[in-house]
Amino acid sequence: MKPTTYWILLLLIAVAVGFVVSTAALAGNVGLAIAATAAAVAFAFIGRRFLDRVVEDERSVQISGQAAMRTLEIAIVAGLFLAAALLATAGSAPGMMSNHYSNGTINLSFFQKDSAGGIAALNSHQINLSGNMTLDDLFAFHQFISEAESPTAYAGLIGYEMMWAAFLIVILYGALYLYYSRKYGS
């Protein structure tokens, strides 16, 4: 097999595995996603054995090593900056208080912690649950959902996750560095 054919095969495998994994993820089938990934790795490995020419040597290993190193540095620095920006702009998830009244209405009040640590009241909605809901009640429900799912409430969560991801990558790098350092005798 010529190198060009091998690269085309790899591309086709990547497209196929991407399709299967995304479909499996949407269907919640983790087993299928893992099986598809394992099959893709196996196909790529088998294809490599049929190559009639060298596609990887010491120079390409050095190039990919340096490219990986730069990618790692850029990804960690950019990830930490983005995480810091997200954490700085994040608001806490709004809290909610509800009061039921004897006439069948419910009062939903939203409040949120401000940057100074105080509590700011956001909004208050009176919703009629007695059976004859008005347009205002529906609007109040809409407000309830949009405020509860405020993007700023998620920004902090994403920021924390990115920070942890960057931290884990650094840990992984350290572990692999130690492994190769021992392997090559330092």
């Binding site: 060298v54 040597d57 120079r59 050095q62």
Partner: protein, 72 residues
């Protein structure tokens, strides 16, 4: 680091592709070595010298750079 691989390759009537195949590397690596863009490992340098039946010193010439380090 300077090298005379191109000269020895011509003397042995070897194409870049043929030399790459005998050394077990890609043609791009031979091109990079000949242009002085990539310094081969000791193993590859020895292999190259052995193919041409010469010593490493005949093939490669070390030039000290100002900073003391070499590009590789």
């Amino acid at each position: 680091m300077k090298n005379r691989i191109k000269v020895y390759r011509a003397m042995h009537d070897l194409t870049q592709e043929a030399l790459a195949e005998r050394l077990g590397v890609t043609r791009q690596t031979i091109i990079a070595i000949e242009r002085g863009k990539y310094n081969p490992s000791l193993e590859l340098a020895f292999k190259t010298a052995r193919i041409f039946g010469v010593t490493i010193e005949d093939l490669y010439e070390y030039e000290e750079t100002k900073s003391g380090d070499d590009k590789s």
